[in-house]
Amino acid sequence: MSQTILIEEVFQSLEHVMDPEIPVLSVVDLGMITGVDIEGEGVRIRMIPTFAACPAVSYIQQNIRKTVEQELGIAVTVEIDKEAHWHSNRMTDAAKEKLKNFGIAPPQVIEGEMRAEIMLETPCPHCGSEQTYLRSPFGSTLCRAIHYCRSCGQVFEQFKPLE
């Protein structure tokens, strides 16, 4: 088996590892994987948590190892990548679409320095209206903020933009 195919297979397998807090997004969708290397008989996967204090990191690490080991039958080590840091622009467009369909507004694209104003008028994931306001920059998990939609009268969550 050539090495390039194997790396691709690892990524395919990683797409089956879902975020425990947002079960429609995989670790690949979220941009949490920073490297896959074939080493001898096994594979070394490097990953980064979204927020520094994310309580699910070791749980996700374990899920990655178990899933890839089971699906590909190879030894897997999963390391936290200390060189890279997560920012919300790492999330793929497809992931943002999935997030919206799940009822959570996706993060805006950050260009340059992140400013607080970016969070105003976040489109409502339910009705699409931009008549919304930020109710709190903190939500049910570290990565979410709470907004209110004036058009449909619903409170909704957003995956926060993070630089």
Binding site: F51, A52, A53, C54, P55, K82, E83, H85, H87, M114, A116, R135, S136, P137, F138, G139, S140, L142, A145, I146, K160, L162, E163
Partner: protein, 253 residues
């Protein structure tokens, strides 16, 4: 670079994060409105995460103890947190003002570490920057809203500022032993520089909120915490914080 100097600086930063994080967590279930309950709980989680990252640097790069043991088994005297973070939450206005002053101080500190000659600091700086933005965004928004709501809330915010400013200035207590060395080695710009950058950050927000920053030349910063001299509030806090861990310090979690 001398490891003792770096270790001293990291312990101060980490202990501030841990104790402030613990104080924030005391609002869980008690916040004045649900969003504030969630906000202080989330910030608690961030702060304790930051403390953990710093204790890990001590452990992995500087030959220090395991982070959990270091956080929970140390004697009160070995803690180097500032008095500001030790103070009980008191009323919401005090907690909010402390959060505002503390998080802007953190922001200028971690921004300065972007250029640190100590590489693990550069990575932390990048990682914490985006998270801290949400903390200051929250603090600024509530300082503004409460200062402009009515006479009572304005008066309470002003007196909270008067009560916390000397404590907050105490964050910037320099080390008699290591300050020069850390600055010369390019680890960080030093407490005096950070203090001035902090004042430049908080001043415009206070002006917008029509709050009067006391004349800083008349304010005596509350020092001592960095040398291990603490208020009477730290000891009971440590006891409570380590209560479960100390039931069995060898347990596997």
């Amino acid at each position: 670079m001398n490891n003792a100097a770096l270790t001293d600086l990291i312990i101060k930063m980490a202990d501030d994060e841990l104790i402030q994080g613990h104080r924030n967590s005391e609002w869980t279930g008690l916040g004045p409105v649900m969003e504030e309950d969630i906000a202080f709980s989330s910030m608690a989680q961030d702060k304790i995460g930051h403390a953990w990252a710093l204790y890990r640097i001590l452990h992995e790069n500087l030959g220090g103890q395991d982070p959990d043991r270091f956080a929970f088994i140390r004697k009160e005297k070995a803690f180097k947190c500032s008095h500001l973070v030790e103070m009980p939450n008191g009323s919401y206005d005090f907690s909010l003002m402390r959060h505002f002053l503390f998080d802007h101080a953190e922001t200028v500190r971690y921004e300065s570490l972007r250029e640190s000659s100590f590489e693990p600091f550069q990575q932390l700086s990048r990682k914490f920057k985006g998270e801290l933005k949400y903390h200051t965004l929250h603090a600024n928004a509530f300082i503004m809203q409460l200062s402009q709501a009515n006479e009572e809330s304005y008066a309470r915010m002003q007196s909270a500022l008067n009560d916390t400013i000397a404590l907050a200035a105490g964050i910037f207590e320099p080390s008699a032993e290591y300050e020069e060395e850390l600055m010369a080695a390019g680890v960080y710009p030093g407490e005096a520089a950070l203090y001035h950058r902090w004042l430049d950050r908080i001043y415009p927000v206070l002006v917008k909120a029509s709050l009067n920053l006391p004349e800083m030349s008349t304010v005596t910063p509350v020092f001592g915490g960095r040398k291990g001299f603490h208020t009477a509030y730290l000891e009971p806090l440590l006891k409570e914080m380590g209560e479960v861990f100390n039931l069995d310090t060898e347990a596997n979690w």
